[in-house]
Symmetry: D2
């Protein structure tokens, strides 16, 4: 089939044309060489000073109201252009909310998470529950829940958004609806769901197993206490050092069915081994400084920086300090990949698990 | 078959005898009238002053060591004699541990729980994790885990034990093994599992779903905060007022596969409606005073009292105070009954859900 | 505590008496030696010629109607007297139904299975579905389902019943109700559930996951085809040779939550290795002849014989023929033991997995 | 923000440019009107005479070997160009295999199904199991299983392929590997898995719960018997008449985690009500003739025709014959949509559930 006489080639070309006219395409001239995932996602780092400076500009230029519902900067992975996405399956943004802001209420089928980078006292209201934000907290906004943001405190708050919009769009399942008022009524006391579900208890006799965590906020104080406990015990993973995932207390599974959230403590001086997996991730540096080697490129990072890990890209992390902890928050698409039986991973097989590298950051 | 001629009766009697000689028994003269569960379990209340006085006597008489591994008083339901059991499926006891005591290490297939009634500072060590006790805490000792108790503080601690020994014996599955030393080594820091699992987090990428909760202790402070939150919201159950069950954070299911544990707040002045279920329960009054109506008998109760609820017995509860909360801790066999598809319940259908009653307590 | 001075002994005796008067019992003089399950269940074999002869007598003596609802002979394990039980958790019986019999309709919380030993053409109706019996079939009667038996054919049918009555009684959960008529209406075509669920299909969009299998009958033809297929491939288990369990097609789990059913083909000349488990079992020889070694006793068996395996008893099986298959049907309590986390097993560690034995059968 | 003075507009344009240079994009000028999924998938019908004629041409032109591994015609949805896809999440093709063909062995992360449209006697070998094809059968090729096709019979076979390639590509998870030989060794007897799992049995004591069905073939004879049984009972769904889904016998869940397969019998004269759902589907007419109304367009269909249903498109079906059954096989992405919590559906609310329509087919 590969080296055909000219007559046959002509015949096949004619056949191809006939097929195309019938909405068909021959499936025989196919690439049958061994192949691994190719991705348009680029490894990339967004620097905090830049992000912060642009947020400050946006604070002056953008008035949040019905005509501009959010004051957020999406982190655009250039490889995915013209899609607005940070990896192929989700988009992240940094968002600033200042005293007095009211970001109007809406709901959509994409699921969102918020990770609070700086400040405290602003809120997100999700389905009638007002969740007060504090640095290091994680807040969930499941698929199709009404939500709005506001700030009745006297300080600014900056957070990282993560939304599975690219995944939802790829599946043609994007629904959006504005609320008929700017703010939804608050029907529960502040932080209700954490107080309800945070202690491994459940109303007796009323088991429910929602796929979205009914607990909507996870507090930094608790998260850090757990990380510090595990770090003190030396319970480290070879690829992620000390890392924990946020869970759905009703099932013990992932907090959300599409997005996973991880908080990771790299102990002073630690350096992990490289591996890769079919899931992608976006990391935000919450504490400390260090570097990661992504696809052989070293990206150094410091407090506030955000970087994108493409799927099936080798990666390893290092804390550059021998005395201070480094802490990375990250979002990934592990739950989706597992649910579809597409999650695979592999350890870097050479050089004691470390990639040869070219400096980049 | 019921009124047979004498000849036939003689024939049948002879046949019965022949069958018996062959290890057989005719199955035809059977009671086919509608019937509901009959139980030997009696509703009963053990008064705290009595329990406490006997514990004090035991404190003087019993020296805890290899020859007397525990200083505990089993609560014996007279209807179950000669079995040592509080209900047909589990046994409860009150146990006192004084400064310096070491209750030796062993393990067994019965699963145990401890609910701390008074005092603080003693410990249970379970599989290398030392769990420090405080009033109102719940501690789990799953099936076949090494455990010992001790008290290095300067005060006494009293707790309620619950063990599914009768169930395990009924299933011919009782294994027991002493440890080769009095105390097992402590290999984790104090309260490790609560610090590890108490914040809805899990080591990233390492999902396990054990049927026994990996969290071994549930703190009163957290339990009460949740109850108070739900009570403030008025989220009450018609039969149990404000009641929460302890969960396994790895699965969102019952903390243990055979025994269930519940903490229940009866709001000031509250009175619940009657129902019954195939599960049995033992309650300990942790705060306040009130009464319960069990099978039409009123049992008044106060702090520390323990009472037994037979299976399929109507019951309802009331807080006698119009200003103070009443709080009941209870153990039940709901997880076992559900697992075997034998759980059934029914609301009391008359008199607005309240039983006519005879005073008893 | 063990060798006490007389004064102390008197004091303790007095204390014991005081405790008993208060519904209490000291828990300190306890046996803390290593122990394994003790059971009252005896290994025992009921011979088919005896069973059959007694069934024939019963056929003449017992007229099945509202006064004698069933014509069944329970297999009584003498060790469990005065309980009517074959093992500690379930009872088995052989039952004969002759042309024209109508065994009236009732329901109860014990779950039943029927294994058809001889004949064909009788029926059991379960919740409106008439299940026609044929030799080697298994029929399920889940907890609380209306059921009656009858025979509109012209031949006798004999089956083996298994019911978890002892377990349900131990849990105080026995409910019984007669139907208001002798026969319930038949609302589905014969063998409806097998035709509905037997092909790994389900009505699109209507998933349900009942804990009791919605398929009520499993046909010998299918069971044998599967066994023969696996036997031809040599896919044998070291303890059971070629053995399959009946499943719930809605969940892939056990067909029933309390009782397990197994069909087992011992290939010509095969001899399995010994093991033991906390589950008990009752076997009926469906084809062939051979022997089993139970707790060191050899029990030879032939077509129709029934034998009981106590929990935690060593056992191994052998087909005595070098040319014919031997086939054993068995009932066990594995699902209950697993659900309660009490299932344990162990391989016989010596003599290449074979027990030294005393002849018995 | 909407009507800005020119100066502000210029400022914002400049800001946008600065953001773009930093890999950022302002998220404020967003469409916040209510919206529902938009899809590029077009409703379309491929006619069987056309498909068959082109397959016959391909039979003459294409020699199946290492240079042309398959003789298949992909059904291209023009709305998705330049992607080769039938809906946004999967691709279908018709494939012809003639006597003597050997389609070489490979594996890939896309999951495939084959539905046999015509003929019998060809085979697919999946992981060492040779599955013999017969008209109406469904054969599964899970993610990453070695598979090859061949035909040692003397007749041609035509089947419909379905693969989740677009989904796997959207998730950047495409792996492909050729086998080192043309054919993989056959290590099981023909149709092993159906014989092993087809009777609701499992090797005793060896539970496994793979997310891909271990049964690899579902036979038309069994499928039709189930449909006919349900049809005779009138157990019809309002949207699909009598429809069954293929299951994974190990779990009772979908046979595959990404693709669902359904066989649907439209009884003579039946006409279903319209609904829509976020899942897409491709139907092949296996028996009979009728029409479907998709997004208000009537598509008539007959034996062998294939048609595509876009996500969130209203649709209803009718059997045009008052005496003959019509039978539709279909593939959908329901399992993926459910796993990601993106499945939603809606009944057509007007005109008794029927769309006003324009004739198309």
């Amino acid at each position: 089939m590969i080296e055909e006489p000219a007559a046959k080639t002509r015949t096949l070309e004619q056949f191809d044309a006939e097929l195309a006219a019938s909405g068909l395409k021959g499936f025989w001239r196919i690439d049958t060489r061994t192949s691994e995932p190719r991705t348009a996602v680029q490894p990339y780092v967004w620097r905090w000073p830049t992000l912060r400076r642009h947020l400050e500009q946006a604070r002056e230029l953008i008035h949040v109201d019905r005509s501009a519902e959010r004051r957020a900067l999406q982190l655009i992975n250039s490889g995915l252009s013209p899609r607005s996405a940070t990896t192929h399956s989700f988009v992240t943004a940094v968002q600033l909310i200042k005293p007095g802001d009211v970001a109007p209420t809406h709901r959509h089928t994409p699921t969102a998470i918020r990770f609070i980078v700086e400040g405290h006292g602003a809120y997100t209201t999700v389905e009638g529950e007002q969740l007060i934000m504090d640095e290091g907290d994680l807040i969930l906004t499941p698929n199709w829940t009404w939500h709005d943001h506001g700030n009745e405190s006297d300080g600014e708050v900056i957070w990282l958004d993560g939304l599975d919009v690219p995944l939802v769009l790829a599946l043609d399942a994007y629904f959006f609806e504005p609320y008929h008022q700017e703010r939804q009524p608050v029907v529960y006391p502040p932080n209700d769901s954490t107080r309800r579900y945070g202690a491994q208890l459940r109303p007796f006799g009323h088991r429910q197993t929602p796929v979205f965590s009914p607990q909507r906020a996870y507090r930094w104080r608790d998260t850090y206490a757990t990380l510090a406990h595990l770090a003190a015990l030396g319970e480290a993973d070879r690829y992620d050092d000390v890392a924990v995932e946020y869970l759905n207390p009703s099932t013990g599974g992932h907090a959300l069915p599409t997005l996973g959230c991880v908080m990771q403590l790299l102990r002073p001086g630690s350096r992990t081994r490289a591996h890769r997996h079919t899931s992608s991730a976006v990391y935000q540096v919450f504490r400390g400084q260090g570097y990661s080697v992504l696809s052989g490129q070293r990206l150094s990072w410091a407090r506030g920086d955000v970087f994108a890990l493409p799927p099936w890209a080798w990666h390893e992390h290092a804390n550059a300090s021998s005395s201070e902890e480094a802490i990375l928050f990250s979002i990934n698409d592990v739950p989706a990949m597992e649910a579809l039986a597409l999650y695979r991973d592999q350890e870097y097989p050479e050089h004691d698990g470390h990639q040869p590298e070219d400096a980049m950051g």
